[in-house]
């Protein structure tokens, strides 16, 4: 009969309406069952897979509980125990980054020798595609994905070009955000350390045994003559002098991270300086080519 299909369909919508209405009239609707109540009526909702009826979440008052693996924008870890960046400025993240939005300036010590520490670490988060490759391929567990997704700002530049201060978070922050993965990593670290200790102990024992066994052979080991030692010393001195000279030449190149204020003006100035240098280098490259 004409119209039965329509009525059947309307029956479905009516059923939905009734179910949702009844559930919503309850003092505690079922969709709030596992939610976390925050102040000012805000809440974080964790919907189970069995949730029926209304699935709508009233963002921004209500938010979803994010799963641990949620990935948005990378963050850099500050090892609070050791008091240092985990990042060693090896640049693997910059290399695997598909949109190439990471760029790193390696730090150098007072002699101008590069050290395994980043002086600057930038991520253009407007370009970042949240693929998490940097996290996957970082050999030092130094870069992880942040869950913070409310990043709206008025200007892209410089607000959305995150510098090292903006990216760095303490290890505890990460541990709270990614508990399972953090535990797994700690486990791996602990095992590695144990192994290392065991190895060191075994080595020490072996050395001891060797020392005991081979007191006689030790005497046979050929010693360097005083002349040889003097020559080596001279060589080392010459090398360090050359390094110092080179450092003096490069001094204006060694960009140092200034204050930690995070003030936009400062940051902008710093970015401008980097930009100027990048432009200079690009110019040089161009001249070299042409």
């Amino acid at each position: 009969m004409f119209g039965t299909g329509l009525l059947k369909g309307l029956g479905v919508t009516l059923k939905h309406f009734a179910e949702t209405y009844i559930d919503d009239r309850k003092p505690a609707p079922s969709r709030y069952a596992d939610s976390i109540q925050l102040e000012h009526g805000r809440r974080i909702i964790d919907q189970p897979i069995t949730q029926e009826g209304l699935l709508t979440i009233q963002y921004p008052e209500e938010k979803r509980l994010l799963p641990e693996r949620f990935r948005y924008i990378p963050m850099l870890l500050w090892d609070t125990e050791k008091g240092e960046d985990r990042c060693t400025a090896c640049g693997i993240c910059a290399k695997v980054c598909p949109p190439q939005c990471i760029w790193i300036v390696r730090d150098s010590d007072e002699n101008g020798k590069p050290v395994t520490r980043p002086a600057e670490f930038f991520i253009d988060v407007a370009v970042c595609m949240s693929c998490s490759f940097c996290v996957e391929f970082c050999p030092f567990d130094a870069i992880k994905m942040n869950h913070d997704y409310e990043l709206a700002v008025y200007d892209r530049y410089p607000q959305l070009v995150y510098d090292k201060e903006e990216l760095t978070v303490p290890l505890e922050y990460y541990a709270a955000m990614w508990p399972e993965q953090f535990a797994a990593e700690q486990e791996v670290l602990r095992k590695a350390e144990e192994e290392e200790r065991a190895k060191a102990e075994a080595k020490a024992k072996a050395a001891e045994a060797k020392a005991k066994a081979g007191d006689a052979t030790k005497a046979d080991k050929p010693k360097r003559t005083p002349e040889e030692i003097e020559a080596m010393k001279q060589k080392a001195a010459a090398r360090s002098a050359a390094a110092k000279e080179k450092a003096a030449g490069d001094e204006n190149d060694g960009e140092k991270a200034g204050d930690k204020s995070g003030d936009d003006a400062d940051k902008k100035a710093r970015l401008e300086e980097l930009k100027r240098k990048a432009a200079e280098r690009a110019q040089q490259r161009k001249q070299g080519e042409g």
Partner: protein, 602 residues
């Protein structure tokens, strides 16, 4: 044909050869003649075809060998090729055709045609009308002209675009280097801000001495004016007019334009206009390393990124010979089928939206999608841009309790939801009145237009790559290929519901059999260098046949990266399907093709 005759024919000039081939139905002997060599036999066998015998050979394959589906037409510019496979070959371009047989199933016939620069090739549109948009694309991106193409034009870029961007010597605006990673980022630590790249700077190039006033498009086409004159005269003498549907029109599912010539409400001709979202995905893909392309494939058909990931991962695995562990195989199938359900419920909802049932069916249909996307997020970290597959498996194992939740979904929730959707819509008199008999095109026409996926299954062709050329572990599951004979809007709606049910069946079996173990075999790392050669891998994506054509010259970056996207090629059929129907029907006909503009424009 004897040897001497063959040489005589080859020397006899190409023009004569083409004419003879076009006029006379080819004999079987013509086939051996046309094949003049082999290429890349290690990875995938391909025959090199003499350019002047191409149409004859295609006709032979279609009529005598049963290759009724021209799947992919693309081109490779070998001018910068670093491998050894092409030593001694002078021609710069190589056209690549992949043909399949929907009756026999199985692997493709791969044809290569070598084309020197500035030469034209015979168009395949005379044999396979489905080559239409793909040849336009090759012309657009490589500048190869096809003789005999009815409407050769730039489809993705605008007419005045300077140069052909997929050529290896074409450099994009702000070109930095030919391959990532860029040394400027590391170790140099430089970066060019996008704000500094002012649009009026140098991101557009013009030929020397270009004068905008005197310039005319290189190929003039006026498609909609070629519409056939209205034969039957009405009582009203109405003039036909050209109307643009889109690019900003809610029915176009994105930024897409339908150029129509209408008389009254009736469509006389319709031409799809696309490219508004074009970003030259393939050029980006050739700059990227092999791994870097993975998150970019998410952005093709953003409704089901898992399928795209799977297609690309399989293609690279085929090329590099990477094994996938058992558990990862199951996880891949589960993800691919979940994403098929997501896509089909989404597309059902939006067919109804296009029919005028605004939002209610759509919201009912995408309710389960929320649950599935939450599950995707839990394992991969993102709802849409999953980036979950890797070469040799998947990136991370499932979380604790995930399988249990999907089991609940597959056994309880999804069957119930699909039944409910069925009750809500299938018997609806308005859906039937609007859907039955609208947008009809015969199965033969659809196949000749290279259409694939639910579209041809709704026309009664039981062709599904999961059965015809099984990939992953689909040959282990018991499922059917539903078909409907009608080939109209209603059938295209209903086939998706049936397919979603089959997906649920596969899900249930996969969840029953999934073993424990490794999820990522090999290293799958970012330093991958597949051996020299080519590979074409297609998967049954929810929208149709999604193919990845890759060429490697054993470098860290793909030499050629081509996406055969179902949304783009299914649009071949849009014009023929709409002619004769009303404007309001065209909206639904487009909706029932189920396109995603991220994949159409690439």
């Amino acid at each position: 044909m004897t040897m001497s005759e063959a040489t005589a024919a080859a020397e006899g000039g190409s023009a004569v050869g083409v004419q003879v081939a076009a006029e006379n139905p080819p004999v079987d002997g013509a086939a051996e003649d046309a094949v003049i060599g082999k290429w890349a036999e290690d990875t995938q066998e391909a025959s090199v075809i003499a350019p002047d015998k191409l149409t004859a050979y295609l006709t032979y394959l279609r009529d005598r060998q049963g290759y009724d589906l021209l799947s992919s037409v693309t081109c490779v510019d070998y001018s910068a090729y670093g491998g050894k496979l092409r030593d001694g070959v002078g021609e710069r371009f190589e056209l690549v055709y992949h043909l399949y047989s929907t009756q026999k199933g199985g692997g493709p016939a791969v044809l290569h045609v070598r084309v020197p620069e500035n030469e034209t090739v015979a168009s395949a549109t005379g044999v396979y009308p489905g080559a239409n948009l793909q040849e336009c694309e090759v012309y657009d991106l490589y500048g190869i002209k096809f003789e005999g193409h009815p409407n050769l034009r730039r489809v993705l870029l605008w007419d005045g675009f300077n140069g052909y961007p997929m050529r290896k010597d074409w450099k994009e605006a702000y070109h930095e280097a030919d391959a990532k990673p860029f040394r400027s980022r590391h170790p140099q630590g430089d970066y060019q801000w996008h704000e500094d790249k002012v649009p009026w700077g140098k991101n557009a190039t013009y030929p020397a001495g270009w004068d905008p006033d005197s310039w005319r498009p290189p190929i003039t086409y006026v498609p909609v004016s070629q519409a056939p004159a209205d034969a039957h005269s009405d009582e009203f003498e109405t003039e036909s007019i050209v109307v643009n549907l889109g690019p900003h029109h809610p029915s176009t599912h994105g930024v897409f334009r339908m150029l129509t010539r209408i008389k009254g409400e009736t469509i006389l001709a319709l031409e799809p206009e696309m490219g508004y979202l074009h970003r030259n995905h393939e050029k980006i893909g050739e700059r990227n390393t092999w791994l870097m392309n993975m998150p970019f494939t998410d952005r093709l058909d953003y409704i089901n990124s898992m399928s795209n990931n799977l297609g690309y991962a399989l293609a690279v695995e085929k090329l590099a010979g990477i094994e996938v562990p058992e558990r990862a195989q199951y996880i891949r199938v589960i993800m691919a089928e979940l994403t098929r359900i997501v896509n089909h419920t989404w597309s059902i909802g939006f067919i109804l939206n296009d029919l005028g049932a605004l939002q209610t069916p759509a919201l009912y249909a995408i309710e389960e999608r929320e649950m599935i996307l939450d599950l995707f997020e839990e394992v991969s970290g993102a709802r849409l841009m999953c980036n979950y597959m890797r070469f040799g498996g998947v990136v991370r194992d499932l979380t604790a309790g995930w399988e249990e939740r999907v089991r609940y979904l597959a056994h309880e929730r999804l069957p119930r939801a699909l039944d409910e959707l069925d009750r809500l819509l299938s018997d609806n008199e308005i859906v039937k009145a609007r859907g039955r008999g609208v947008g009809h095109l015969s199965a033969k026409d659809l196949l000749s237009l290279s259409v694939s996926g639910p579209m041809i299954r709704a026309a009664g062709v039981p062709y599904d790559i999961r059965k015809a050329e099984p990939y992953c572990i689909y040959d282990r599951f018991d499922f059917d290929i539903p078909t409907l004979p009608e080939s109209d809007i209603y059938a295209r709606y209903y086939i998706r519901l049936l397919e979603a049910r089959e997906s649920v069946k596969i899900l249930q079996q996969a969840l029953r059999d999934i073993p424990q173990g490794e999820v990522l075999g090999g290293k799958g790392g970012y330093t991958l260098r597949p051996p020299e050669g080519e590979a074409y891998q297609r998967v049954e994506a929810p929208k149709g046949e999604l193919g990845f054509y890759l060429v490697s010259d054993a470098k860290p970056n793909p030499y050629r990266y081509h996406v055969r996207s179902p949304s783009f090629i299914n649009l071949n059929a849009l014009g023929p399907m709409c002619v004769g129907y009303k404007v309001a029907d065209a909206v639904v006909i487009l909706g029932a093709i189920d396109i995603v503009l991220g994949e159409v424009d690439r």
